[in-house]
Symmetry: C2
Subunit: 402 residues, 2 copies
């Protein structure tokens, strides 16, 4: 079913009269998604990496897996602790081929998305015993602007042993007084800049989810003690919920496994099989004309170029400044191709940038979620091409009206 190129029907789409219905892109409607709704707000809030879907449509057959009813029903996987050895092997091969992370002497822990591993790592890096319950044993921090879920997740999982304490730089002068766990996202979400640890302590979680050739130049293989990656941002399979951590210390690795096993008894075996096939497809296309990273980079570079040109033409908004970098994967200098625009409202009266955009029909994620000023807001440019085109139109309209 074509759904007019503005939607898709899946095997588990809602069935009406025996037929799965089209699921339309935002602002498209009708049984075949051919109707563009007028005055429809465009949603660029979430980091849904649908820009890679055309690649997987083109490679639909070679990347497909058949799951029969009796496929691996048991809790047991080929490796201990519900780890698939073949998938682990492919992940190592992928990092080695891309050159974005050192896998030698590293343990690999699987998670239900990098999301689960973020908290698993906070748990694993927390001190073993908190003697005084009224004082958190570890303070969890990140540099502003940071990924919103670090805060909301740490606050929801209000372990006695740790507490969210916000901006890393607020603690720079007291960094040897307390135990800290610091999240460092590089390239950063929301602004795409390379980041280093602010506190320089021992417990740093490097969130490298965007350190892949479609979003970033690869400078050298990252060689940190704790590194976090996700399938969502790597191949675009957000729905599968799969991520992994590369860990130097066996004790930390064991604690992460303990967390994941107590939390969910390991990641889905169905997903293991699918991710194995997806990574194998990526590996076999690498450095050929079917290279997924090349496809992803060209898409994101083109989007950023258009978006950046539009914003640069305006006095009322500005975007983060990103420079070209030499990329060891593509073996050339690369233009910026970030996942998000980190937009600033420059006019004195536009104190709430999320609200300014909302009034212009654009749903974005305001700066306050990232620990930053309300003058900033994050716009996802990694969703469908329809989403991006509508975002451009709405942005043009806001700029021309101001």
């Amino acid at each position: 079913m074509s759904c007019s190129g503005h939607g898709r029907a899946f095997l588990d789409s809602v069935v009406v009269n025996g037929v799965p219905m089209c699921e339309c892109n935002t602002c498209y409607s009708g049984p075949d998604c051919s109707v563009l709704l007028p005055d429809c707000p465009i949603d660029v809030y979430s980091g849904d990496p649908v820009f890679l879907e055309p690649y997987w449509r083109k490679h639909a057959a070679s990347s497909a897996v058949l799951l029969s009813g009796w496929h691996r029903m048991t809790y047991e996987q080929t490796g201990k602790h519900h780890i698939s050895l073949e998938l682990e092997k492919c992940i190592r091969l992928l990092h080695d081929s891309v050159g974005n992370a050192v896998t030698k002497d590293r343990f690999i822990a699987f998670g239900t998305g990098a999301t689960q591993l973020m908290n698993a790592l906070v748990y694993a890096l927390s001190p073993d015993a908190a003697n005084n319950l009224s004082v958190p044993a570890a303070r969890v921090v990140a540099a502003v602007p940071y990924y919103a879920v670090f805060k909301t997740q740490t606050e929801m999982f209000d372990f006695r042993a740790n507490k969210w304490e916000g901006s890393a730089s607020d603690w720079k002068n007291s960094s040897n007084k307390y135990d800290f766990i610091e999240f460092v996202t590089s390239p950063n979400n929301p602004d795409g800049l390379f980041q280093q640890s602010v506190l320089g302590g021992a417990s740093v979680i490097y969130d490298l989810c965007y350190y892949w050739p479609h979003y970033s130049a690869i400078l050298s293989p990252a060689d940190e003690d704790v590194m976090l990656f996700s399938m969502s941002k790597m191949s675009g399979h957000a729905s599968s919920r799969f991520g992994w951590a590369l860990l130097k210390d066996e004790k930390i690795f064991r604690k992460v496994l303990y967390y994941v096993n107590q939390n969910v008894i390991g990641t889905s075996g169905d997903t293991h099989l699918r991710m194995l096939k997806i990574i194998k497809t990526i590996l076999s296309g690498m450095r050929t004309k079917e290279d997924m990273f090349e496809f992803g980079y060209e898409t994101m570079r083109e989007r950023w170029k258009r978006f950046n040109e539009l914003i640069s033409s305006s006095e009322i908004f500005s975007l983060q400044k990103l420079a070209p970098h030499n990329c060891t994967y593509f073996k050339k200098a690369k233009d910026p191709s970030p996942a998000y625009g980190w937009l600033k409202c420059e006019m004195e009266e536009d104190r709430d940038c999320e609200d300014v955009l909302k009034r212009g029909g654009i749903i974005s994620q305001g700066g306050i979620n990232f620990g930053a000023d309300r003058r900033y807001t994050r716009l996802s440019i990694m969703k469908t091409q329809d989403d991006f085109e509508l975002l451009m139109k709405k942005m043009e309209a806001i700029i021309s009206l101001k």
Copy 2:
């Protein structure tokens, strides 16, 4: 690949020289699993429901799904909060057809296994704010013997708002002094007995994972406010990590969704598609000669009968007493068919029953894990037929030697 009937090779089994290797049942070895290892301890520790595998092997084609590379990559599912509407519909239909739970006026929350939902429910049922951090706002309890993970999970997720407080009956006289969250497993894990709440408070989590016709007579549709089910124990697909909760209160439902979304951003979409096909296959076979519950019941009844007869012949061990019950699903009186044997060592000197079995080459889960005496231990009889046959042999040997 046949693997001699004592193992299986999957698409994601470890590949040697281009061929996926057989994964052998416990105590079987060799490239085709044909070698029975002498003096090999049999592992009946875990509740791995592999007894249903022969059913799914028989229905391999009709229960298979094809996941192409571009299948539903997005975080978005058909329903809000990462819920698949078609899967939700099928789950309601399944309960209505089996008659084991009321689904009318209930919300359905998905989880990465019932395991994840256990803690999500503890979170959702906790008081909103704990004023005094040194006193837990909610005490989490269960009747002895209880499922071990209630304790280990609640202790690992040491929320400031709640604390594991062990045996429910210890708190019977102070039940109106504090806030309690009580887990009630019925039929119970480990002993298969029907259970009611001990404290009779408002916050009771009914774990009904074993309330399906293969393990239990269905007495009437359960009509509790908070009911928990798992795919693992229902269809045997433990590896998929999928469970659900039926919830009466919308506020609790929203808090469970919040927990799951902060924890993992929804359950795996790959698994949604597979579970949909599995449940459809079960529904279409129901009350025909291809009934999965009939197959499962006959398997478990036969195993229990043989195991119970063996233990009854001995003076040194005893098992839980289970009575036949009328079953509304099979419309007849049913013999017991539990998932576990809850074994007691009767001899004065056999104070540690897990250890007694271990010396006889049987790995079981000792009573202390369930908050019970060391004289008890749990043996899983739901694993492969090979596991069960070896368990019988080892048990016979222990009994004949004593």
